[in-house]
Symmetry: C2
Subunit: 304 residues, 2 copies
Amino acid sequence: MPTENLEYPTKPYSKVNRYDVRGKRNAARTLTVHQTNRKGKATYALKTIHELVNTCPILHVSFNLPDSPFPMMLPMIGQMGSFARPSSDIGDVLELYLHGYVSSRLINLSRKKSGSKGDDLSSGNSTDAPETQGLPITVGASHIDGLVLSLTPNSHSYNYRSAVLFGHAEVVTDVEEKLWAMELITNSVVRDRYRNTRVPPNNAEMQSTSVLRVRIAAGSAKLRSGMPSDEKGDLEDAALLDRVWTGVVPVHYTFGNPLPGPYNKLANPPAYLDEFVRESNLGAKDVALEAATKVMKPKAKRED
Amino acid sequence: MPTENLEYPTKPYSKVNRYDVRGKRNAARTLTVHQTNRKGKATYALKTIHELVNTCPILHVSFNLPDSPFPMMLPMIGQMGSFARPSSDIGDVLELYLHGYVSSRLINLSRKKSGSKGDDLSSGNSTDAPETQGLPITVGASHIDGLVLSLTPNSHSYNYRSAVLFGHAEVVTDVEEKLWAMELITNSVVRDRYRNTRVPPNNAEMQSTSVLRVRIAAGSAKLRSGMPSDEKGDLEDAALLDRVWTGVVPVHYTFGNPLPGPYNKLANPPAYLDEFVRESNLGAKDVALEAATKVMKPKAKRED
Protein backbone atom coordinates (compact mmCIF):
# COMPACT_ATOMS: atom_id res chain seq x y z
CA MET A 1 0.00 0.00 0.00
CA PRO A 2 1.46 3.39 -0.92
CA THR A 3 2.34 5.36 2.20
CA GLU A 4 0.18 8.30 1.21
CA ASN A 5 -2.87 6.15 1.84
CA LEU A 6 -2.15 5.22 5.45
CA GLU A 7 -4.88 6.27 7.86
CA TYR A 8 -5.16 6.20 11.64
CA PRO A 9 -7.82 3.86 13.04
CA THR A 10 -10.96 5.67 14.18
CA LYS A 11 -11.41 5.18 17.90
CA PRO A 12 -14.40 6.48 19.86
CA TYR A 13 -12.20 9.26 21.26
CA SER A 14 -10.62 10.19 17.92
CA LYS A 15 -13.64 10.17 15.64
CA VAL A 16 -14.34 13.58 14.17
CA ASN A 17 -18.04 14.31 14.22
CA ARG A 18 -18.60 14.38 10.52
CA TYR A 19 -19.35 17.38 8.46
CA ASP A 20 -22.71 17.29 6.83
CA VAL A 21 -22.47 18.68 3.34
CA ARG A 22 -26.22 18.41 2.86
CA GLY A 23 -27.36 20.02 6.10
CA LYS A 24 -29.39 17.01 7.15
CA ARG A 25 -27.42 15.76 10.11
CA ASN A 26 -25.69 17.29 13.08
CA ALA A 27 -21.97 17.86 13.05
CA ALA A 28 -19.44 19.25 15.49
CA ARG A 29 -17.90 22.29 13.91
CA THR A 30 -16.13 23.87 16.78
CA LEU A 31 -14.21 26.39 14.74
CA THR A 32 -17.17 27.89 12.97
CA VAL A 33 -18.11 30.94 14.95
CA HIS A 34 -21.61 29.57 14.90
CA GLN A 35 -22.97 26.70 12.91
CA THR A 36 -23.63 26.84 9.21
CA ASN A 37 -20.22 26.24 7.65
CA ARG A 38 -20.41 23.41 5.13
CA LYS A 39 -16.96 23.43 3.61
CA GLY A 40 -14.95 21.46 6.15
CA LYS A 41 -13.62 17.97 5.97
CA ALA A 42 -12.31 15.42 8.40
CA THR A 43 -9.34 13.19 7.67
CA TYR A 44 -7.42 10.40 9.36
CA ALA A 45 -4.56 10.39 6.81
CA LEU A 46 -1.15 10.09 8.49
CA LYS A 47 0.43 12.35 5.86
CA THR A 48 -1.98 15.25 6.45
CA ILE A 49 -1.88 14.94 10.22
CA HIS A 50 1.91 14.62 10.45
CA GLU A 51 2.43 17.63 8.17
CA LEU A 52 0.13 19.73 10.37
CA VAL A 53 2.07 18.71 13.49
CA ASN A 54 5.51 19.28 11.95
CA THR A 55 4.66 22.76 10.67
CA CYS A 56 2.98 23.93 13.88
CA PRO A 57 5.35 26.08 15.96
CA ILE A 58 3.48 25.41 19.22
CA LEU A 59 1.82 22.14 20.13
CA HIS A 60 -0.68 22.01 22.98
CA VAL A 61 -0.09 18.92 25.09
CA SER A 62 -2.73 17.66 27.51
CA PHE A 63 -2.57 14.90 30.14
CA ASN A 64 -4.09 14.06 33.50
CA LEU A 65 -2.50 14.52 36.91
CA PRO A 66 -3.61 12.07 39.60
CA ASP A 67 -4.57 14.89 41.98
CA SER A 68 -6.36 17.31 39.66
CA PRO A 69 -9.93 17.45 38.37
CA PHE A 70 -8.65 19.34 35.30
CA PRO A 71 -6.46 18.05 32.48
CA MET A 72 -3.06 19.75 32.43
CA MET A 73 -2.08 21.70 29.34
CA LEU A 74 1.41 22.72 28.25
CA PRO A 75 2.63 24.50 25.13
CA MET A 76 5.53 22.48 23.74
CA ILE A 77 7.80 22.08 20.73
CA GLY A 78 7.76 18.75 18.94
CA GLN A 79 8.32 16.87 15.70
CA MET A 80 7.21 13.60 14.15
CA GLY A 81 9.97 11.24 13.08
CA SER A 82 11.29 7.70 13.17
CA PHE A 83 14.60 6.99 14.88
CA ALA A 84 14.51 3.38 13.66
CA ARG A 85 13.90 4.50 10.05
CA PRO A 86 15.20 8.10 9.81
CA SER A 87 14.49 8.28 6.08
CA SER A 88 10.78 7.57 6.58
CA ASP A 89 8.29 9.57 4.57
CA ILE A 90 6.04 12.05 6.38
CA GLY A 91 3.10 9.72 5.65
CA ASP A 92 4.73 6.67 7.27
CA VAL A 93 4.13 5.43 10.79
CA LEU A 94 6.09 7.88 12.95
CA GLU A 95 6.55 8.77 16.59
CA LEU A 96 6.15 12.23 18.07
CA TYR A 97 9.21 13.61 19.89
CA LEU A 98 8.63 16.34 22.47
CA HIS A 99 11.21 18.39 24.28
CA GLY A 100 10.97 18.77 28.05
CA TYR A 101 12.90 19.82 31.08
CA VAL A 102 13.75 17.08 33.56
CA SER A 103 11.83 18.47 36.49
CA SER A 104 8.53 19.01 34.72
CA ARG A 105 5.44 17.14 35.81
CA LEU A 106 4.98 15.72 32.33
CA ILE A 107 8.46 14.20 32.26
CA ASN A 108 8.14 12.82 35.78
CA LEU A 109 4.75 11.27 35.04
CA SER A 110 6.03 9.78 31.79
CA ARG A 111 9.00 8.29 33.60
CA LYS A 112 6.73 6.75 36.23
CA LYS A 113 4.43 5.32 33.62
CA SER A 114 7.22 3.72 31.64
CA GLY A 115 7.21 0.03 32.37
CA SER A 116 3.84 0.06 34.11
CA LYS A 117 0.85 -1.35 32.32
CA GLY A 118 -2.88 -1.06 32.60
CA ASP A 119 -3.05 1.53 35.38
CA ASP A 120 -3.69 4.68 33.41
CA LEU A 121 -4.89 7.74 35.27
CA SER A 122 -8.20 7.76 33.46
CA SER A 123 -10.72 4.99 33.33
CA GLY A 124 -12.00 3.06 30.38
CA ASN A 125 -8.80 1.96 28.70
CA SER A 126 -9.14 -1.73 29.39
CA THR A 127 -9.67 -2.46 25.70
CA ASP A 128 -6.36 -0.79 24.85
CA ALA A 129 -4.16 -2.99 27.04
CA PRO A 130 -1.30 -3.44 24.55
CA GLU A 131 -1.02 0.32 24.12
CA THR A 132 -1.06 1.48 27.71
CA GLN A 133 2.67 1.59 28.35
CA GLY A 134 3.56 5.22 28.91
CA LEU A 135 1.52 8.24 29.94
CA PRO A 136 -1.64 8.86 27.88
CA ILE A 137 -1.34 12.30 26.29
CA THR A 138 -3.23 14.29 23.70
CA VAL A 139 -1.52 16.74 21.37
CA GLY A 140 -3.20 19.49 19.37
CA ALA A 141 -1.70 21.33 16.37
CA SER A 142 -3.79 24.14 14.88
CA HIS A 143 -3.19 26.50 11.98
CA ILE A 144 -5.37 29.47 11.02
CA ASP A 145 -5.55 30.40 7.33
CA GLY A 146 -8.29 33.00 7.23
CA LEU A 147 -11.27 34.80 8.73
CA VAL A 148 -14.41 33.74 6.85
CA LEU A 149 -16.87 36.63 6.94
CA SER A 150 -20.40 35.72 5.87
CA LEU A 151 -23.84 37.30 5.97
CA THR A 152 -24.83 36.10 9.44
CA PRO A 153 -22.81 35.68 12.66
CA ASN A 154 -23.76 32.00 12.70
CA SER A 155 -22.12 31.26 9.36
CA HIS A 156 -18.86 33.04 10.25
CA SER A 157 -15.92 30.71 10.42
CA TYR A 158 -12.16 30.35 10.14
CA ASN A 159 -10.24 28.69 7.38
CA TYR A 160 -8.15 26.36 9.50
CA ARG A 161 -6.27 23.08 9.67
CA SER A 162 -6.23 21.35 13.01
CA ALA A 163 -4.81 17.96 14.01
CA VAL A 164 -5.10 15.98 17.22
CA LEU A 165 -2.93 12.99 18.15
CA PHE A 166 -3.52 10.53 20.99
CA GLY A 167 -0.64 8.45 22.27
CA HIS A 168 1.52 7.18 25.12
CA ALA A 169 4.58 9.16 26.18
CA GLU A 170 7.80 7.70 27.50
CA VAL A 171 11.13 9.32 28.35
CA VAL A 172 13.83 8.56 25.76
CA THR A 173 16.74 6.87 27.55
CA ASP A 174 18.94 5.88 24.59
CA VAL A 175 21.63 8.55 24.12
CA GLU A 176 21.77 8.22 20.33
CA GLU A 177 18.01 8.51 20.00
CA LYS A 178 18.00 11.53 22.32
CA LEU A 179 20.68 13.33 20.30
CA TRP A 180 18.86 12.50 17.07
CA ALA A 181 15.62 13.93 18.49
CA MET A 182 17.36 17.10 19.74
CA GLU A 183 18.67 17.69 16.23
CA LEU A 184 15.22 16.99 14.73
CA ILE A 185 13.52 19.45 17.09
CA THR A 186 16.17 22.19 16.78
CA ASN A 187 16.01 22.03 12.99
CA SER A 188 12.21 22.37 13.16
CA VAL A 189 12.68 25.85 14.65
CA VAL A 190 15.05 26.96 11.87
CA ARG A 191 15.99 24.59 9.07
CA ASP A 192 19.65 23.47 9.32
CA ARG A 193 20.22 25.32 12.60
CA TYR A 194 21.58 22.40 14.66
CA ARG A 195 24.91 21.91 12.88
CA ASN A 196 25.37 25.69 12.82
CA THR A 197 25.50 25.87 16.63
CA ARG A 198 27.82 24.46 19.32
CA VAL A 199 27.14 20.72 19.25
CA PRO A 200 27.00 18.11 20.61
CA PRO A 201 25.29 19.04 23.89
CA ASN A 202 27.61 18.63 26.89
CA ASN A 203 26.92 16.37 29.86
CA ALA A 204 25.09 19.01 31.86
CA GLU A 205 22.84 19.77 28.90
CA MET A 206 22.11 16.10 28.29
CA GLN A 207 21.21 15.57 31.93
CA SER A 208 19.01 18.61 32.34
CA THR A 209 17.02 17.97 29.16
CA SER A 210 14.57 15.17 28.54
CA VAL A 211 12.99 14.06 25.32
CA LEU A 212 9.62 12.33 25.26
CA ARG A 213 8.72 9.80 22.61
CA VAL A 214 4.99 9.46 22.00
CA ARG A 215 3.76 6.25 20.41
CA ILE A 216 0.64 7.29 18.51
CA ALA A 217 -2.57 5.33 19.10
CA ALA A 218 -4.90 7.42 16.96
CA GLY A 219 -5.24 10.79 15.32
CA SER A 220 -7.51 12.95 13.24
CA ALA A 221 -7.63 16.31 11.55
CA LYS A 222 -10.28 18.82 10.59
CA LEU A 223 -9.77 21.29 7.77
CA ARG A 224 -11.86 24.14 6.43
CA SER A 225 -11.05 26.18 3.35
CA GLY A 226 -12.78 28.35 0.80
CA MET A 227 -15.12 31.29 0.70
CA PRO A 228 -18.16 31.94 2.94
CA SER A 229 -21.30 29.88 2.64
CA ASP A 230 -24.70 31.22 3.65
CA GLU A 231 -28.26 29.96 3.86
CA LYS A 232 -30.59 30.27 0.86
CA GLY A 233 -32.91 32.64 2.73
CA ASP A 234 -30.13 35.12 3.37
CA LEU A 235 -28.69 34.81 -0.14
CA GLU A 236 -32.09 35.87 -1.54
CA ASP A 237 -32.18 39.01 0.61
CA ALA A 238 -30.97 41.70 -1.86
CA ALA A 239 -30.86 44.46 0.76
CA LEU A 240 -28.70 42.27 2.98
CA LEU A 241 -26.30 41.49 0.13
CA ASP A 242 -26.02 45.21 -0.60
CA ARG A 243 -25.14 45.96 3.02
CA VAL A 244 -22.84 43.17 4.26
CA TRP A 245 -19.32 42.60 2.88
CA THR A 246 -18.60 38.88 2.53
CA GLY A 247 -15.31 37.17 1.81
CA VAL A 248 -12.12 35.98 3.45
CA VAL A 249 -9.33 37.80 5.25
CA PRO A 250 -6.22 35.61 4.76
CA VAL A 251 -4.20 34.97 7.95
CA HIS A 252 -0.65 33.70 8.19
CA TYR A 253 2.47 33.90 10.34
CA THR A 254 5.18 36.32 9.23
CA PHE A 255 8.84 36.17 10.25
CA GLY A 256 10.43 39.61 10.56
CA ASN A 257 14.03 40.45 9.72
CA PRO A 258 16.45 38.66 12.08
CA LEU A 259 17.54 41.02 14.89
CA PRO A 260 21.13 40.43 16.11
CA GLY A 261 21.56 39.90 19.84
CA PRO A 262 23.96 41.61 22.25
CA TYR A 263 26.86 39.16 21.77
CA ASN A 264 26.37 38.41 18.06
CA LYS A 265 29.61 39.01 16.12
CA LEU A 266 28.42 38.23 12.56
CA ALA A 267 27.90 41.20 10.26
CA ASN A 268 24.87 39.62 8.58
CA PRO A 269 22.49 36.76 9.24
CA PRO A 270 23.79 33.58 7.55
CA ALA A 271 22.33 32.50 4.20
CA TYR A 272 20.48 29.47 5.63
CA LEU A 273 18.62 31.79 8.03
CA ASP A 274 17.78 34.43 5.43
CA GLU A 275 16.53 31.74 3.05
CA PHE A 276 14.49 30.09 5.77
CA VAL A 277 12.81 33.39 6.66
CA ARG A 278 12.11 34.33 3.04
CA GLU A 279 10.80 30.90 2.00
CA SER A 280 8.70 30.50 5.12
CA ASN A 281 7.02 33.86 4.53
CA LEU A 282 6.28 33.14 0.88
CA GLY A 283 4.97 29.69 1.73
CA ALA A 284 2.77 30.89 4.56
CA LYS A 285 1.21 33.60 2.41
CA ASP A 286 0.55 31.13 -0.41
CA VAL A 287 -1.16 28.67 1.93
CA ALA A 288 -3.51 31.38 3.25
CA LEU A 289 -4.39 32.63 -0.25
CA GLU A 290 -4.92 29.12 -1.55
CA ALA A 291 -7.12 28.26 1.43
CA ALA A 292 -9.29 31.29 0.67
CA THR A 293 -9.71 30.63 -3.03
CA LYS A 294 -9.66 26.86 -3.40
CA VAL A 295 -12.19 24.66 -1.68
CA MET A 296 -10.87 21.27 -0.64
CA LYS A 297 -12.97 18.43 -1.94
CA PRO A 298 -14.33 16.31 0.88
CA LYS A 299 -13.27 12.69 0.42
CA ALA A 300 -16.12 10.23 0.17
CA LYS A 301 -14.19 7.73 2.27
CA ARG A 302 -14.37 8.18 6.04
CA GLU A 303 -17.00 10.87 5.76
CA ASP A 304 -19.65 8.57 7.22
CA MET B 1 -8.00 46.78 45.63
CA PRO B 2 -7.30 48.10 42.13
CA THR B 3 -8.42 45.56 39.55
CA GLU B 4 -5.01 45.41 37.90
CA ASN B 5 -3.69 43.65 41.00
CA LEU B 6 -6.11 40.71 41.06
CA GLU B 7 -4.42 37.34 40.85
CA TYR B 8 -5.74 33.81 40.50
CA PRO B 9 -5.14 31.51 43.47
CA THR B 10 -2.28 29.07 42.93
CA LYS B 11 -3.63 25.54 43.04
CA PRO B 12 -1.45 22.45 42.77
CA TYR B 13 -2.62 21.98 39.18
CA SER B 14 -2.17 25.62 38.17
CA LYS B 15 1.21 26.40 39.73
CA VAL B 16 3.79 27.26 37.12
CA ASN B 17 7.08 25.59 37.92
CA ARG B 18 9.06 28.68 38.62
CA TYR B 19 11.75 30.11 36.45
CA ASP B 20 15.10 30.19 38.11
CA VAL B 21 16.85 33.44 37.33
CA ARG B 22 19.93 32.38 39.23
CA GLY B 23 20.33 28.91 37.77
CA LYS B 24 20.25 27.23 41.18
CA ARG B 25 16.94 25.40 41.07
CA ASN B 26 15.05 23.37 38.55
CA ALA B 27 12.30 24.93 36.49
CA ALA B 28 9.88 23.69 33.86
CA ARG B 29 10.52 25.63 30.71
CA THR B 30 8.58 23.71 28.16
CA LEU B 31 8.89 26.23 25.40
CA THR B 32 12.63 26.51 25.48
CA VAL B 33 13.87 24.16 22.82
CA HIS B 34 16.18 22.80 25.47
CA GLN B 35 16.86 24.15 28.92
CA THR B 36 18.98 27.19 29.60
CA ASN B 37 16.58 30.08 29.00
CA ARG B 38 16.51 32.41 31.99
CA LYS B 39 14.34 35.25 30.79
CA GLY B 40 10.86 33.90 31.38
CA LYS B 41 8.36 34.78 34.04
CA ALA B 42 5.24 33.27 35.48
CA THR B 43 2.19 35.30 36.41
CA TYR B 44 -1.23 34.72 37.92
CA ALA B 45 -2.53 38.23 37.14
CA LEU B 46 -6.10 38.19 35.81
CA LYS B 47 -5.37 41.13 33.49
CA THR B 48 -2.42 39.45 31.76
CA ILE B 49 -4.15 36.07 31.47
CA HIS B 50 -7.45 37.51 30.19
CA GLU B 51 -5.68 39.64 27.58
CA LEU B 52 -3.82 36.58 26.29
CA VAL B 53 -7.08 34.63 26.00
CA ASN B 54 -9.00 37.46 24.31
CA THR B 55 -6.31 38.09 21.68
CA CYS B 56 -5.75 34.42 20.85
CA PRO B 57 -7.60 33.44 17.65
CA ILE B 58 -7.68 29.74 18.56
CA LEU B 59 -8.09 28.36 22.05
CA HIS B 60 -7.25 24.73 22.77
CA VAL B 61 -9.90 23.21 25.03
CA SER B 62 -9.26 19.96 26.89
CA PHE B 63 -11.62 17.79 28.95
CA ASN B 64 -12.07 14.14 29.84
CA LEU B 65 -14.54 11.71 28.30
CA PRO B 66 -15.76 8.92 30.58
CA ASP B 67 -14.74 6.23 28.08
CA SER B 68 -11.32 7.47 26.93
CA PRO B 69 -7.84 7.13 28.45
CA PHE B 70 -6.87 10.33 26.65
CA PRO B 71 -8.06 13.88 27.33
CA MET B 72 -10.07 15.29 24.43
CA MET B 73 -8.79 18.40 22.71
CA LEU B 74 -10.76 20.82 20.54
CA PRO B 75 -9.74 24.07 18.87
CA MET B 76 -12.40 26.65 19.72
CA ILE B 77 -13.19 30.36 19.61
CA GLY B 78 -13.85 32.11 22.89
CA GLN B 79 -13.81 35.36 24.82
CA MET B 80 -13.67 36.44 28.45
CA GLY B 81 -16.48 38.70 29.62
CA SER B 82 -19.09 39.35 32.27
CA PHE B 83 -22.76 39.23 31.35
CA ALA B 84 -23.74 40.47 34.82
CA ARG B 85 -21.30 43.42 34.58
CA PRO B 86 -20.72 44.02 30.83
CA SER B 87 -18.56 47.09 31.47
CA SER B 88 -16.08 45.08 33.54
CA ASP B 89 -12.40 45.77 33.02
CA ILE B 90 -10.26 43.05 31.43
CA GLY B 91 -8.56 42.57 34.82
CA ASP B 92 -11.83 41.95 36.69
CA VAL B 93 -13.27 38.56 37.56
CA LEU B 94 -14.71 37.33 34.25
CA GLU B 95 -16.16 34.19 32.75
CA LEU B 96 -14.96 32.52 29.56
CA TYR B 97 -17.59 32.12 26.81
CA LEU B 98 -17.00 29.40 24.23
CA HIS B 99 -18.94 28.76 21.07
CA GLY B 100 -20.09 25.25 20.30
CA TYR B 101 -22.40 23.25 18.11
CA VAL B 102 -25.25 21.51 19.89
CA SER B 103 -24.26 17.97 19.01
CA SER B 104 -20.64 18.14 20.09
CA ARG B 105 -19.39 15.94 22.88
CA LEU B 106 -18.24 18.94 24.85
CA ILE B 107 -21.67 20.55 24.82
CA ASN B 108 -23.42 17.30 25.69
CA LEU B 109 -21.04 16.61 28.57
CA SER B 110 -21.42 20.15 29.87
CA ARG B 111 -25.19 19.83 29.75
CA LYS B 112 -25.05 16.56 31.68
CA LYS B 113 -22.75 18.02 34.28
CA SER B 114 -24.89 21.08 34.89
CA GLY B 115 -26.77 20.57 38.11
CA SER B 116 -24.70 17.58 39.19
CA LYS B 117 -22.18 18.01 41.95
CA GLY B 118 -19.13 16.19 43.20
CA ASP B 119 -18.99 13.50 40.55
CA ASP B 120 -16.37 14.86 38.20
CA LEU B 121 -14.85 12.51 35.67
CA SER B 122 -11.43 12.76 37.25
CA SER B 123 -10.50 11.98 40.81
CA GLY B 124 -9.10 14.24 43.46
CA ASN B 125 -11.56 17.11 43.41
CA SER B 126 -13.09 16.46 46.81
CA THR B 127 -11.53 19.60 48.22
CA ASP B 128 -13.16 21.70 45.51
CA ALA B 129 -16.75 20.75 46.24
CA PRO B 130 -18.29 24.23 45.82
CA GLU B 131 -16.70 24.57 42.39
CA THR B 132 -17.59 21.24 40.85
CA GLN B 133 -20.83 22.24 39.12
CA GLY B 134 -20.19 21.95 35.40
CA LEU B 135 -17.67 20.01 33.35
CA PRO B 136 -14.01 20.51 34.36
CA ILE B 137 -12.16 21.91 31.35
CA THR B 138 -8.74 23.36 30.68
CA VAL B 139 -8.16 26.07 28.11
CA GLY B 140 -4.83 27.05 26.58
CA ALA B 141 -4.05 30.31 24.73
CA SER B 142 -0.58 30.64 23.25
CA HIS B 143 1.11 33.40 21.28
CA ILE B 144 4.52 33.20 19.61
CA ASP B 145 6.53 36.41 19.36
CA GLY B 146 9.91 35.23 18.13
CA LEU B 147 12.49 32.52 17.49
CA VAL B 148 15.34 32.92 19.97
CA LEU B 149 18.53 31.68 18.34
CA SER B 150 21.43 31.19 20.73
CA LEU B 151 24.88 29.55 20.66
CA THR B 152 23.76 26.05 21.66
CA PRO B 153 20.66 24.03 20.77
CA ASN B 154 19.84 23.76 24.47
CA SER B 155 19.55 27.50 24.96
CA HIS B 156 17.31 28.01 21.92
CA SER B 157 13.85 29.22 22.82
CA TYR B 158 10.76 31.08 21.67
CA ASN B 159 9.60 34.46 22.79
CA TYR B 160 6.07 33.54 23.75
CA ARG B 161 3.08 34.34 25.94
CA SER B 162 0.97 31.43 27.01
CA ALA B 163 -2.02 31.29 29.38
CA VAL B 164 -3.91 28.34 30.82
CA LEU B 165 -7.31 28.56 32.51
CA PHE B 166 -9.01 25.87 34.58
CA GLY B 167 -12.75 26.02 35.12
CA HIS B 168 -16.18 24.43 35.00
CA ALA B 169 -18.25 24.68 31.83
CA GLU B 170 -22.02 24.91 31.65
CA VAL B 171 -24.36 25.47 28.73
CA VAL B 172 -25.85 28.98 28.69
CA THR B 173 -29.63 28.67 28.80
CA ASP B 174 -30.64 32.32 29.23
CA VAL B 175 -31.50 33.75 25.79
CA GLU B 176 -30.26 37.27 26.56
CA GLU B 177 -26.94 35.96 27.86
CA LYS B 178 -26.58 33.72 24.81
CA LEU B 179 -27.19 36.60 22.39
CA TRP B 180 -24.76 38.78 24.34
CA ALA B 181 -22.09 36.06 24.15
CA MET B 182 -22.68 35.53 20.40
CA GLU B 183 -22.08 39.23 19.84
CA LEU B 184 -18.98 39.18 22.08
CA ILE B 185 -17.50 36.20 20.21
CA THR B 186 -18.35 37.47 16.70
CA ASN B 187 -16.77 40.84 17.45
CA SER B 188 -13.62 39.06 18.65
CA VAL B 189 -13.12 37.74 15.11
CA VAL B 190 -13.47 41.22 13.53
CA ARG B 191 -14.11 44.26 15.70
CA ASP B 192 -17.63 45.64 15.20
CA ARG B 193 -18.63 42.83 12.82
CA TYR B 194 -21.79 41.66 14.64
CA ARG B 195 -24.00 44.70 13.99
CA ASN B 196 -22.77 44.79 10.38
CA THR B 197 -24.31 41.38 9.64
CA ARG B 198 -27.86 39.99 9.60
CA VAL B 199 -28.87 39.93 13.25
CA PRO B 200 -30.40 38.76 15.50
CA PRO B 201 -29.95 35.03 14.86
CA ASN B 202 -33.19 33.31 13.89
CA ASN B 203 -34.79 30.44 15.79
CA ALA B 204 -32.97 27.72 13.84
CA GLU B 205 -29.64 29.41 14.47
CA MET B 206 -30.35 29.84 18.17
CA GLN B 207 -31.31 26.18 18.51
CA SER B 208 -28.37 24.74 16.59
CA THR B 209 -25.77 26.81 18.41
CA SER B 210 -24.73 26.47 22.01
CA VAL B 211 -22.63 28.78 24.12
CA LEU B 212 -20.62 27.47 27.05
CA ARG B 213 -19.91 29.63 30.09
CA VAL B 214 -16.78 28.61 31.98
CA ARG B 215 -16.51 29.67 35.62
CA ILE B 216 -12.77 30.03 36.19
CA ALA B 217 -11.22 28.22 39.17
CA ALA B 218 -7.59 29.06 38.53
CA GLY B 219 -5.23 30.25 35.84
CA SER B 220 -1.64 31.06 35.10
CA ALA B 221 0.56 32.39 32.33
CA LYS B 222 4.15 32.01 31.28
CA LEU B 223 5.93 34.65 29.24
CA ARG B 224 9.39 34.85 27.69
CA SER B 225 10.82 37.89 25.95
CA GLY B 226 14.17 39.35 25.07
CA MET B 227 17.35 38.29 23.35
CA PRO B 228 19.21 34.97 23.67
CA SER B 229 21.01 34.00 26.83
CA ASP B 230 23.93 31.58 26.84
CA GLU B 231 26.21 29.94 29.38
CA LYS B 232 29.44 31.65 30.45
CA GLY B 233 31.57 28.86 28.98
CA ASP B 234 30.11 29.35 25.52
CA LEU B 235 30.21 33.14 25.72
CA GLU B 236 33.98 32.93 26.33
CA ASP B 237 34.53 30.80 23.21
CA ALA B 238 35.68 33.41 20.65
CA ALA B 239 35.72 30.96 17.73
CA LEU B 240 32.11 29.98 18.54
CA LEU B 241 30.99 33.62 18.69
CA ASP B 242 32.64 34.23 15.30
CA ARG B 243 30.78 31.29 13.77
CA VAL B 244 27.22 31.27 15.20
CA TRP B 245 24.67 34.03 14.49
CA THR B 246 22.66 34.83 17.61
CA GLY B 247 19.55 36.95 17.94
CA VAL B 248 15.79 36.88 17.52
CA VAL B 249 13.58 36.34 14.47
CA PRO B 250 10.34 38.21 15.29
CA VAL B 251 7.14 36.22 14.59
CA HIS B 252 3.61 37.58 14.29
CA TYR B 253 0.30 36.96 12.54
CA THR B 254 -0.42 38.99 9.42
CA PHE B 255 -3.85 39.62 7.92
CA GLY B 256 -3.81 39.85 4.12
CA ASN B 257 -6.04 42.09 2.03
CA PRO B 258 -9.70 41.07 2.36
CA LEU B 259 -10.71 38.89 -0.63
CA PRO B 260 -14.35 39.34 -1.71
CA GLY B 261 -16.43 36.16 -1.92
CA PRO B 262 -18.64 34.93 -4.78
CA TYR B 263 -21.83 36.70 -3.65
CA ASN B 264 -20.25 39.86 -2.25
CA LYS B 265 -21.86 42.99 -3.82
CA LEU B 266 -19.81 45.73 -2.14
CA ALA B 267 -17.18 47.44 -4.30
CA ASN B 268 -14.72 47.75 -1.41
CA PRO B 269 -14.28 46.29 2.06
CA PRO B 270 -16.00 48.52 4.63
CA ALA B 271 -13.94 50.98 6.68
CA TYR B 272 -14.29 49.04 9.97
CA LEU B 273 -12.76 45.98 8.26
CA ASP B 274 -9.90 47.84 6.58
CA GLU B 275 -9.08 49.59 9.85
CA PHE B 276 -9.21 46.35 11.78
CA VAL B 277 -6.80 44.67 9.35
CA ARG B 278 -4.39 47.61 9.30
CA GLU B 279 -4.38 48.17 13.06
CA SER B 280 -4.09 44.46 13.83
CA ASN B 281 -1.08 44.13 11.56
CA LEU B 282 0.71 47.14 13.02
CA GLY B 283 -0.05 46.00 16.55
CA ALA B 284 1.12 42.43 15.95
CA LYS B 285 4.40 43.59 14.43
CA ASP B 286 5.02 45.97 17.33
CA VAL B 287 4.42 43.25 19.91
CA ALA B 288 6.93 40.93 18.22
CA LEU B 289 9.60 43.65 17.95
CA GLU B 290 9.06 44.78 21.51
CA ALA B 291 9.28 41.19 22.77
CA ALA B 292 12.63 40.80 21.01
CA THR B 293 14.19 44.00 22.29
CA LYS B 294 12.68 44.51 25.76
CA VAL B 295 13.14 41.99 28.53
CA MET B 296 10.24 41.75 30.94
CA LYS B 297 11.28 42.08 34.54
CA PRO B 298 10.34 39.02 36.59
CA LYS B 299 8.18 40.03 39.54
CA ALA B 300 9.60 39.14 42.95
CA LYS B 301 6.12 38.19 44.15
CA ARG B 302 4.91 34.69 43.26
CA GLU B 303 8.29 33.69 41.92
CA ASP B 304 8.95 31.45 44.92
